[in-house]
């Protein structure tokens, strides 16, 4: 194997992307959980620890650029590194959604608005499950596994629609809590976008293995709403 240096550095970067992915998963699960516990101290910790994820993303980006410059990869190696650059960016943006949820939690503060905690947890668990498997498919370069994931986005979208309608009805019945109702919608939107970004990762898995850049989702056209 004449490319042992490149291969071992690629493995290191893949391990680090795994780690970054776990941090992002934990951040969104924790942020959603604090909506249930209303632990604002914990929400503040999640909000602040986003900087750790940002730093890790930059470190990874740097390592990838160094590898591009020093190893001058072609073909699949080149596609893999280009895809990794995009995926670390996606992961960082997904962490911003967790940060955004923590920020909204703090903003809602002591308000007595009913937070649809169960549905938020379902959204978060589904999204994290998708990310976990999507990242696994990416790092194992398994296009079949990746291709099966985006359709699960419908589960998250349905939950979003359900929360949306319930929250609008709540706001109509409780006009004095219009602001808080709006905050609830932002949380739902963040979780919905989190899942959308898994699709982008799956698209890159297809790109690495086939060289084809193709859109896998049909309903990923909404504007981006997150804290950043």
């Amino acid at each position: 194997m004449p490319r042992e240096t490149l291969d071992s550095k690629l493995t290191q970067i893949q391990d680090e992307i795994y780690l970054l992915g776990s941090m992002v998963e934990q951040a969104v699960l924790d942020a959603t959980n604090t909506l249930k516990t209303r632990d604002l101290k914990e929400a503040k910790r999640i909000y602040e620890e986003d900087t750790v994820i940002n730093e890790k993303r930059f470190a990874l980006e740097n390592a990838i650029i160094i590898l591009l410059a020093t190893q001058q990869p072609f073909a699949r190696d080149l596609r893999l590194l280009a895809a990794m650059l995009l995926v670390v960016n996606e992961l960082e943006r997904m962490a911003d959604y967790a940060k955004g949820i923590a920020k909204i939690n703090i903003k809602i503060g002591k308000s007595d608005i009913a937070i649809p905690v169960r549905d938020f947890q379902k959204m978060a668990e589904q999204s994290v499950s998708m990310l976990h498997r999507g990242l696994d498919a990416f790092l194992k370069q398994n296009p079949n596994q990746a291709a099966a994931i985006p359709q699960e986005d419908d589960i998250v979208d349905d939950l979003y629609t359900k929360i949306y309608h319930e929250t609008i009805q709540y706001a109509i019945a409780n006009p004095s809590q219009m602001d808080e109702a709006n905050d609830i919608l932002w949380i739902a939107h963040n979780l919905e976008r989190f899942a959308d970004r898994v699709t982008n990762i799956c698209e890159r898995t297809i790109f690495i293995t086939t060289g084809e850049l193709m859109e896998m989702s049909s309903n990923d056209d909404e504007g981006d709403v997150s804290d950043s």
Binding site: P2, R3, Q72, P73, F74, A75, R76, L78, R79, G211
Partner: protein, 261 residues
């Protein structure tokens, strides 16, 4: 066996071309179209017939007594094997790996070809020498020293002098066999930039072991490989942008990724 036709007008067409050194078959069933006014690079592992194919295009291999060929190569749809070889080599110039200026002045190096073809008019020669040196991006560096020996130039300058010498007979095709492998990185980039300009008027075919060079400098890339009996064939041929980002063949992938060869 693969037949490959790319976009653009074909300048050179190889049809069922085979080449033997005695009993050893060095090239097997080469079918390929090389487009005009483009740079086509030939890459592949050592010993797979890249240079042999390049040298076939101006019949340089005929200088080796044991060489035998079957099939045909066409230049502008004319069979090169039925043409006068001197006339063919006027149309198809060649630049080699090591700069090989003649031990003559810069002027005489460039004027050598036109003189050999019978041109005696001094004023015309002066024009040709200037034009060729300009095209070879050497004029500004040597215009005040045209009587200096070609051997007194730096390696990169010598190689550009050899390119000017090839251009002076107004060829249509320039074959380059590892033209930058003996040069430093700056001289290499100068040659690469130079051939980008030359392709407007010429068709360029370049053999290189330097994958980055093929990726940087060529429009099309032809990948040679060899069969277990060591005869060379074309495994893949396509736009350079495609070959280096998404090759069709696993062998190409492994070769350009540095995983064999």
């Amino acid at each position: 066996m693969r037949s490959s036709k790319l976009n653009g007008n074909s300048k050179i067409i190889a049809k069922d071309f085979n080449l033997f050194y005695g009993d050893f078959q060095a090239l097997k069933d080469i079918n390929v179209d090389i487009p005009e006014h483009a740079i086509t690079s030939i890459i592949g592992p050592s010993g797979c017939g890249k240079s042999t194919f390049l040298r076939s295009i101006n019949r340089m291999n005929e200088l080796i007594p044991s060489v035998r060929t079957t099939g045909n190569i066409f230049l502008d749809n004319e069979n090169i094997f039925t043409q006068d070889v001197v006339e063919l080599r006027k149309q198809v110039g060649m630049v080699f790996q090591r700069p090989n200026p003649f031990p003559k002045s810069i002027f005489d190096n460039v004027a050598y070809g036109p003189r050999a073809h019978g041109l005696k008019n001094k004023a015309v020669l002066v024009d040709i020498v200037e034009k060729s040196l300009v095209q070879a991006a050497l004029w500004e560096e040597v215009k005040d020293n045209l009587n200096k020996s070609g051997l007194a130039l730096s390696g990169g300058q010598q190689q550009r002098l050899c390119i000017a010498r090839a251009l002076a007979v107004e060829p249509q095709v320039i074959l380059m066999d590892e033209p930058a492998s003996a040069l430093d990185p700056i001289a290499t980039l100068k040659i690469e930039e130079l051939i980008q300009n030359l392709k407007k008027e010429y068709t360029i075919v370049i053999v290189t072991h330097n994958m980055q060079q093929a990726a940087r400098a060529s429009d099309y890339t032809m990948v040679f490989n060899m069969y277990p009996d060591r005869s060379g064939y074309i495994i893949e041929y396509g736009k350079t942008t495609q070959v280096f980002t998404n090759p069709r063949e696993k062998i190409t992938e492994d070769y350009i990724s540095g995983r064999f060869g």
